[in-house]
Symmetry: C2
Subunit: 203 residues, 2 copies
């Protein structure tokens, strides 16, 4: 008896998942440009034929990989902000978590380095906007509560996420990431406290 045949749709999903996983590993380790489609599809027990069938081209697979990572990031961020006691704390936690995620080599390479070069400005990616939107929504709520000053929320959200990402890059490439991380987070908190309405205690 041959191995039980799963329904076709399952086989397809499995193939897609294998390709995405293989591509993800290759992109993360050798980078987009140096990742050979022949190599990493073979690693997944397939050929480029499968890749072109499902994703159109190399860039298409990269988009799928990025979408997967983005999704994971968003889930993690939402969990963190949901756990916080106050909205302000959730806001801080979420952003600091963002910084810390950006320390992971896979995210560094795929999302922060190759992503923009291959797919263009991250702000245009469907999900990056989702993350920005979350920060924006938080700021709007915080403004409504009278906690933060009256500033255009989206603009500020962009500035904040930029600062976070850059902080992450700095940390990841520093000689002593732990020490740098402490300094960065501290500076980030200070920057955020500047947003509070004067005299209002940060809680």
């Amino acid at each position: 008896m041959k191995a039980a045949h799963k329904p076709r749709s399952e086989m397809i999903a499995e193939t897609r998942a294998k390709l995405i996983a293989a591509g993800r590993r290759a992109f993360a380790t050798t980078g987009y440009a140096n990742a050979s489609m022949d190599d990493f599809t073979a690693e997944a027990g397939l050929t480029r034929g499968a890749l072109y069938h499902h994703f159109g081209d190399k860039k298409g697979l990269f988009e799928a990989v990025l979408a997967q990572i983005d999704q994971e990031m968003c889930v993690r961020l939402n969990e963190i902000s949901a756990r916080a006691k106050t909205r302000w704390q959730g806001f801080l936690d979420e952003n600091i978590a963002y910084i810390e995620m950006a320390l992971e080599p896979e995210i560094q390479r795929i999302v922060l380095r190759d992503g923009p070069a291959v797919l263009g400005d991250p702000a245009q990616w469907p999900n990056a906007n989702a993350c920005i939107s979350a920060i924006t929504a938080n700021l709007v709520a915080l403004k409504a509560e009278g906690l933060v000053r009256d500033i255009d929320a989206e603009a500020m959200a962009r500035l904040i996420s930029g600062a976070s990402l850059y902080a992450a890059q700095w940390i990841a490439n520093s000689e002593d990431p732990d020490a740098t991380s402490i300094k960065a987070v501290k500076a980030f908190r200070a920057l955020m406290e500047g947003l509070l309405v004067a005299g209002r205690p940060a809680n």
Copy 2:
């Protein structure tokens, strides 16, 4: 009579300059990955042979192009901060100028998009550090004057330049760059004012 022979060293400098200029144009318009060395060297009246001789490889030429652009940016920034009446104003002007420079397509593409993918983290580039250093030095001085709060200057400089860059990306890709630019600069000013010692007027 043949064309007057310039000394060899001049010819070499000229060749290098021509290659850098041609590469710069190609990288800016089609991007690093899509720029064909055969094409743009021919455009400069040369071949890949010259390129390999002077720059080692494609990446080597890219580094040279980036160094040239970086240099130009630094000169412009220094001029701007030098023109300001107060140190705080110079600090603001310089950063806002940074945002505005990041709107230029050439800088977007070469410095902000392809640069990190080809050469790695910008914070490690020799010159990016020079720009960061300038911001850091400004912050140190502002702290000494008692104008801004006591925050690790380098960390804050990193956060600020990250915010600037991201703001620029946002502006460049928005539907109405002018309107977005106004919002971004306003938010940036607000973010910076949060750094001031409480009660201190920004001048």
